[in-house]
Amino acid sequence: MKKYFPWFGLLARLILGGVLITAGYLKAFNPSKAKMAVRAYEVLPIALANILGVLLPWVELGVGFLLILGVATRFTARFTALLMFVFIIAIGQAWARGLSIDCGCFGGGGQVDPSQTKYLPEIGRDIAFILISYFLIRYPTSRFALEKEDQ
């Protein structure tokens, strides 16, 4: 079984990298909407939320590309897990406080009708991504990685 791990690693990199690049791409070119999505969580001061809204999509794109290329895999996997953890906290607090927002994960975002919130699936999805990241953190050596040995 263990000899297939590098192939699983490749799959994990492609899934996480693909998700991050998609998420980043869908937000990076509509900064005013991306800012709004972050503001709608009502956690950060407005000015800070607006900066994060602009930065986050580009960070996602960068980490996504590193994952696809297979460079610094363990580090990027750790970073992805941390990012998803933060997303879960953010979505969880919105849910707990009774806000009705879209997570804005793949574009979109902002306030929505209370019947249209999808907090549970959004959190579930992020937990799945954390599990995949965890695999890469444990076994960062994978097929077709630019960097053959990850430390």
């Binding site: 990076a28 070119f29 509509n30 900064p31 005013s32 909407k33 800012k35 709004m36 503001r39 709608a40 407005i46 000015a47 607006n50 900066i51 602009v54 930065l55 999509p57 580009w58 960070v59 794109l61 960068g62 590309f65 590193l66 290329l69 460079v71 610094a72 902002g110 306030q111 630019l146 960097e147 053959k148 040995e149």
Partner: protein, 222 residues
């Protein structure tokens, strides 16, 4: 598998460096392009002090101020216009309130073009007619091509705008930077949804006041 010790390290650092560079450039570009810029072209009816909004009855004293943030492609804004549009126009024509329209553009390129065209219409004192026309002829889907430059010129004809000035204003996106400034101001004021209405600087009740004509009138006129 490490054939050349150190070889991968170099690849690694080059790749990380390149990705970080592209990310930084993209983020900086994105940040500066979405920031408000000074000295942009604005129609004379627009007031920078009012968050670059389109202002009616700006010189009236002792009347309520109604701020409306909207997006020409937003279907709920269309519903809001159907219900309260005529009343808003009467507030303006009967000088009962100062009304400020903030044209947001969350929904993509055609929102930006439509907002620009509305500013072009304002140059010819036809903002309200054009505003009403756009909502009356909204597309069911976003960025369908309806509010492309050609579509907006057609819409202009529907609102009585046929001048050469209007045509070139729409085609050249004369007020494109202004649209960006309106969006930046909406962001700074934490407007996260369209339509959003402030009366005298405070948002009206989302659950009760937007889609009840009587309640909407009451919250403005008391």
């Amino acid at each position: 598998m490490a054939t050349k010790p150190g070889g991968d390290k170099i690849t690694r650092n080059i790749v990380i460096g390149m990705v970080a560079f592209v990310v930084a450039i993209g983020a900086i570009f994105s940040y500066t392009s979405s920031k408000s810029t000074n000295g942009v072209a604005i129609p004379s009816i627009v007031s920078k002090a009012e968050g670059y909004g389109v202002v009616f009855n700006g010189d009236l004293k002792g009347v309520p101020t109604v701020d409306l943030w909207e997006d020409f492609q937003c279907p709920i804004c269309g519903e809001f216009e159907t219900l309260n549009g005529a009343y808003m126009q009467s507030l303006i024509s009967q000088k009962k309130a100062k009304v400020v329209f903030h044209l947001l553009s969350f929904l993509g390129p055609e929102s930006i073009q439509a907002a620009n065209a509305a500013a072009c219409a304002a140059d010819e004192d036809k903002f309200l007619a054009f505003h009403a026309y756009l909502y009356a002829h909204q597309s069911k889907t976003e960025n369908s091509g309806l509010w492309s430059a050609a579509g907006l010129l057609e819409a202009g004809k529907g609102a009585g705008l046929t001048s050469q000035a209007f045509t070139s204003c729409v085609k050249d996106s004369k007020y494109g930077d202004w649209v960006n400034n309106v969006a930046a101001d909406g962001g700074a004021k934490n407007v996260n949804q369209t339509p959003t209405v402030f009366v005298n600087g405070t948002e009206i009740n989302r659950n009760t006041d937007y889609f009840n004509a009587a309640a909407f009138k009451k919250v403005i006129e008391g």
